[in-house]
C-alpha cells in the first residue's frame, strides 16, 4: 500500500508572508511537506512538471493548494484557471489565501472554481487560527478524489 503524502503547495511571493504561513503551520503542528512556489509560473511548472520541475515525480500532487492572487508573472486567477482546465489537477482543492477583500476577486475566484477564499488578517493570532482551521479541514477532514497520474 502506497503511502500518500499529503503535501501542501503554497503559492506566495512575499517572503514574510511565506515565513509567517510556515510558522503558523508549525505553531499548529501541521507537519506536512510544504512546497513553496514564488510566482504563478513556478506553481504551474510544479503542478504540470514543466520548467524547473520537469523531472519531478508526477505521482506527487499536492493535497491542497494555498494560492495568493497577486503574483508576479502569472497571477493567481490565471493559475486557478489552468488548474481547473487540466484533467490532472481539476479536482485539486484550491484555497485562495490573499490580502484582498475585493468583491470582484472573491466572485472571480469562486467563478473559476476556488474551493475556499480566506483573507489574511493583519493580526497574526487570527491568521494562525485561520491556518489551523484550514489545515484541519483540508488535510484531515476532507476526502479527495484520487486520480491516477498518467505515468
Amino acid at each position: 500500500m502506497e503511502i500518500i503524502e499529503k503535501t501542501i503547495l503554497l503559492v506566495e511571493d512575499n517572503p514574510d508572508d511565506e515565513l509567517l504561513t510556515l510558522l503558523a503551520f508549525k505553531d499548529n503542528n501541521i507537519v506536512n511537506e510544504v512546497i513553496v512556489a514564488h510566482d504563478g509560473q513556478e506553481a504551474l511548472d510544479y503542478l504540470f512538471g514543466t520548467g524547473q520541475y520537469k523531472d519531478r515525480d508526477m505521482n506527487q500532487l499536492p493535497w491542497v493548494i494555498l494560492l495568493d492572487l497577486k503574483l508576479p508573472k502569472v497571477d493567481g486567477l490565471e493559475v486557478l484557471q489552468q488548474i481547473r482546465s487540466n484533467l490532472l489537477t481539476k479536482h485539486l482543492p484550491v484555497v485562495i489565501l490573499t490580502s484582498s477583500k475585493e468583491e470582484m476577486d472573491i466572485i472571480n475566484s469562486y467563478h473559476l472554481g476556488a474551493n475556499s477564499y480566506i483573507r489574511k488578517p493583519v493580526d497574526f493570532e487570527q491568521f494562525s487560527e485561520a491556518i489551523k482551521q484550514l489545515g484541519l479541514y483540508w488535510l484531515v477532514l476532507n476526502e479527495l478524489a484520487v486520480i491516477n497520474s498518467p505515468k
Binding site: 508572508d17 509567517l20 490580502s99 484582498s100 493583519v122 493580526d123 491568521f127
Partner: protein, 639 residues
C-alpha cells in the same frame, strides 16, 4: 347729354303744335278756294250781277276768314308783290295795311336777308307746293320800327281767276316767345349740361380718389397681411440660414423683384449671405455682383453708408444713364443690367444696438418703383427679420453651447472614469499591498513575544504589544478606508427597504455580542424607505454600532430608532443615552479620520460617520446630529 335728350322732345312737340295750327289755317283757306274762280270771273250782266253779289259774298267770306286767321296772312304775287294782308299782319309788323300793299314781300324782311330771300322766292315759283319756309333756318321779320323778330312761315301757292294768276299765301307767325323759350331752354340745357359736366368731373374725381384710397387701403392691408405672414414664416424656423432664405424668398416677387441680405462681418466688411430674384436664373448674378464688385466702403451712399448711419436709403428711380455712369467696366454694367436696377431700398437689420447687416430690396424691370411710403414698410420688414434672426442666432448659440457642454460632460466623464479606475487600482493596492507589511510587523512582533519573550522585561514586552496594536489599528484603518471608497463607487439598486427589520437584526447581534449588558431597544415598526439595501444596512450598522459603543458605560443602554414627519418629509432618528459630545465640535463629526473621543476611551477609526454621511447623500438625503455631553446623542437623517 341726357338733359339735352330729355329736353329735346318737348321742343319738338311745341314746334309740331305750331305747324298744325298753320296747317289748319290753310285748310280753311283751301275750303273756300273753289269759290275763287266764281268770285273772280265776270260774264254776263245778270251773271255779273249775280256773280258780283256772289263774289262780294265770297270775297267778304274770304276776307272774313283771312282776317280771323290767328297768323299774319300775306298774299303775294308770283313776283313777290304784296297783294293782300290781314289785321294780324298789321299788328305783327306795325305797318298799316296801305303801307304794305304793293310793296315787295322783302319789305317785311330785314335787309340783310333780301338777296337770299329773292332767290328763294324765285325758286319757289318754279316749284310751288305747300310747305314750311326755310325749315331748319332762322327766319326773321322786320317791324316798322326796324326791330326784328323771329318768325315761322308756311307757304302755299294759289292760282286765281281765269288768268290763272299765280299767287302765294304766306302764314307768318311770331315765334319770339318760342324762340325765347327755346333760348331759355337752350340756356337751361347749357347750364344743366355744364352742371352735369361739373358733377361728372366731381364724381369722377371722387371716384378716382376713392379708388386711390381703396388701392392704398388694399395695399396697406396686403402689406399688413404680408408682415403677419412674414412673422409667421420667420418664426417657423430657428435655423439661421433657413430663416434668411425664407425671408428673401418671401419678398420676391410680391415686394421686390430681387432682394439680398448682406451680413456685417467681425472686420466690418459685408458679405452677401443670401439673395433671391424673380428670375431664379439670375440669383447667381446677384451674388456675383456683390462678390466681383463689392460696394465702396467710403461711398456716401450704398450699403456701407446705410450701416454706418443706420438710416435707410431709397432710390426712387435709377436711370440707365446713371448705371452707365457708375459702372466700373462693361462686365459690371452687363451684370447690373441683367439683374435689373430701377429702384431700390436698403435698410439695416438692427436689433438692440447690434447690426446684423442690411436688407436691400430692388425693383428690376417690372416697371414698379419704390416710393417714400415704402420705407416704413421696409423698416417694419427688417425689424421682423432681425427679430427672427436674433432668435435664430440665440438658438444657434444655445445649441453651440449645448454641444460644448455635452462635449465637456463627455470629457469629464472620461476623466472621471479614468480617476475611478485609478482609485480602484489604488484601493486594491492599499488593501493588498499595504496590509502585507502590517501582517509582517504584527506577525513577527507576535513571534518575538512568544518565542523570545523571556529575553525582555515588562517594558520591552509592552513596547512590542504597542507595535502589534498599532499595526492592527492601521489594518482596521485601511479596511475602513477601502469601505468608504467603495461606498462612493458601487452602483445602487433602489428598492423598498424595511429599515425596522434591518435595525432589529443589528440590535439583536449587538445584544448577543455582549449579553451581560443591560439594554433596551425601541424600534418603530415597519419603517419603509426606498434605497439600496446594502448601503442602508451599512449606514444603520454604523449608527447603531456607535449608539451601542458610546453608551457602554451607562447602567442601562437605551437606544431608540424611529421617525417623525415635517413638511411631508420623513425624518428618521437614532437616539442613545451615551456619553454624547460637545456640540462645538459638531463640524468635525462627519469628517473622515475625525474622532471626538480618544482611542483609549472608545475604539474607532473615525471613518464610520463619514461612511454614513456618504451613503445618505448618495440617497439625496441629509444627516445631522444633536448631542449633549453625558446626556446622549441623536442622529437625524432623511432619505
Amino acid at each position: 347729354m341726357d338733359a339735352i335728350t330729355f329736353w329735346w322732345p318737348g321742343y319738338r312737340v311745341s314746334a309740331m303744335l305750331l305747324f298744325i295750327t298753320a296747317v289748319v289755317s290753310w285748310i280753311t283757306i283751301l275750303a273756300i278756294y273753289k269759290y275763287f274762280p266764281v268770285a273772280l270771273s265776270l260774264k254776263t250782266s245778270k251773271d255779273f250781277e249775280a256773280e258780283l253779289i256772289e263774289r262780294k259774298k265770297s270775297e267778304s267770306k274770304f276776307i272774313g276768314l283771312l282776317e280771323s286767321a290767328p297768323d299774319a296772312m300775306v298774299i303775294t304775287s308770283g313776283d313777290g308783290e304784296i297783294l293782300m294782308i290781314n289785321a294780324q299782319t298789321e299788328r305783327l309788323f306795325g305797318f298799316k295795311r296801305e303801307e304794305m300793299t304793293g310793296k315787295k314781300i322783302e319789305f317785311l324782311i330785314p335787309e340783310r336777308f333780301h338777296h337770299k330771300h329773292t332767290n328763294h322766292r324765285e325758286g319757289y315759283v318754279e316749284n310751288p307746293k305747300i310747305r314750311g319756309m326755310g325749315i331748319g333756318m332762322n327766319l326773321f321779320g322786320r317791324r316798322k320800327d326796324e326791330s326784328e323778330f323771329p318768325v315761322e312761315i308756311s307757304l302755299s301757292p294759289m292760282e286765281i281767276g281765269e288768268q290763272e294768276k299765280f299767287m302765294v299765301i304766306s302764314a307768318i307767325r311770331d315765334i319770339t316767345k318760342q324762340k325765347e323759350a327755346e333760348a331759355e331752354i337752350k340756356k337751361l340745357n347749357g347750364n344743366l349740361e355744364l352742371l352735369v359736366v361739373e358733377r361728372t368731373v366731381e364724381l369722377e374725381l371722387a371716384l378716382a380718389s376713392e379708388k386711390a384710397a381703396r388701392a392704398e387701403m388694399n395695399q396697406n392691408q396686403l402689406r399688413l397681411a404680408f408682415l403677419t405672414e412674414a412673422s409667421n414664416i420667420l418664426a417657423s424656423s430657428l435655423d439661421y440660414s433657413e430663416t434668411l432664405t425664407n425671408l428673401v424668398k418671401m419678398v420676391t416677387p410680391l415686394i421686390a423683384d430681387w432682394c439680398a441680405i448682406d451680413e456685417v462681418g467681425e472686420d466690418g466688411t459685408i458679405k452677401r449671405i443670401v439673395a433671391s430674384h424673380v428670375d431664379p436664373k439670375k440669383i447667381k448674378s446677384v451674388y456675383e455682383l456683390a462678390e466681383k464688385y463689392p460696394p465702396d466702403m467710403n461711398a456716401p451712399h450704398g450699403i456701407y453708408q446705410v450701416i454706418r448711419t443706420r438710416e435707410p436709403e431709397l432710390h426712387l428711380n435709377i436711370s440707365d444713364e446713371f448705371l452707365e455712369n457708375i459702372a466700373q467696366d462693361a462686365e459690371y454694367l452687363s451684370l447690373i443690367r441683367e439683374v435689373g436696377l430701377q429702384s431700390s431700398i436698403t435698410v439695416t437689420l438692427l436689433s438692440r444696438g447690434t447690426i446684423y447687416g442690411a436688407l436691400t430690396l430692388v425693383m428690376a424691370d417690372s416697371g414698379r418703383h419704390f416710393e417714400e411710403k415704402d420705407l416704413e414698410f421696409a423698416k417694419e420688414l427688417s425689424l421682423r427679420a432681425t427679430l427672427a434672426l436674433e432668435n435664430a442666432k440665440l438658438y444657434k448659440e444655445i445649441q453651440d453651447s449645448n454641444i460644448e457642454l455635452e462635449q465637456r460632460v463627455a470629457k469629464r466623464t472620461v476623466e472621471l472614469e479614468a480617476i475611478n479606475k485609478e482609485l480602484e487600482a489604488f484601493s486594491y493596492s492599499v488593501s493588498h499591498d499595504l496590509r502585507a507589511p502590517l501582517r509582517s510587523i504584527d506577525g513577527f512582533s507576535n513571534k518575538i513575544l512568544k518565542d523570545y519573550g523571556e529575553l525582555f522585561d515588562d517594558q520591552g514586552k509592552d513596547y512590542f504589544m504597542r507595535v502589534k496594536n498599532a499595526s492592527q489599528h492601521m489594518g482596521h484603518l485601511i479596511d475602513d478606508l477601502i469601505k468608504l471608497a467603495r461606498i462612493s463607487r458601487i452602483g445602487m439598486n433602489m428598492e423598498e427597504i424595511n429599515l425596522s427589520a434591518i435595525a432589529r437584526l443589528i440590535t439583536t447581534e449587538l445584544q448577543e455580542s455582549n449579553p451581560e449588558r443591560r439594554a433596551s431597544f425601541h424600534i418603530q415598526d415597519d419603517m419603509i424607505a426606498k434605497g439600496d439595501r446594502n448601503l442602508l444596512q451599512i449606514a444603520l450598522q454604523n449608527l447603531l454600532d456607535n449608539a451601542w459603543k458610546y453608551s457602554k458605560n451607562q447602567t442601562e443602554t437605551k437606544i431608540e430608532f424611529g421617525s417623525t414627519q415635517k413638511d411631508k418629509q420623513i425624518i428618521y432618528f437614532i437616539t442613545d443615552n451615551g456619553v454624547g459630545f460637545d456640540m462645538r465640535y459638531v463640524d468635525k463629526l462627519f469628517g473622515a479620520f475625525q474622532r471626538l473621543h480618544s482611542l483609549s476611551e472608545f475604539e474607532g477609526t473615525g471613518i464610520g460617520l463619514a461612511t454614513v454621511q456618504r451613503i445618505i447623500s448618495r440617497h439625496q438625503g441629509t444627516i445631522w446630529a444633536d448631542s449633549e455631553v453625558n446626556k446622549g446623542t441623536t442622529f437625524f437623517f432623511t432619505l
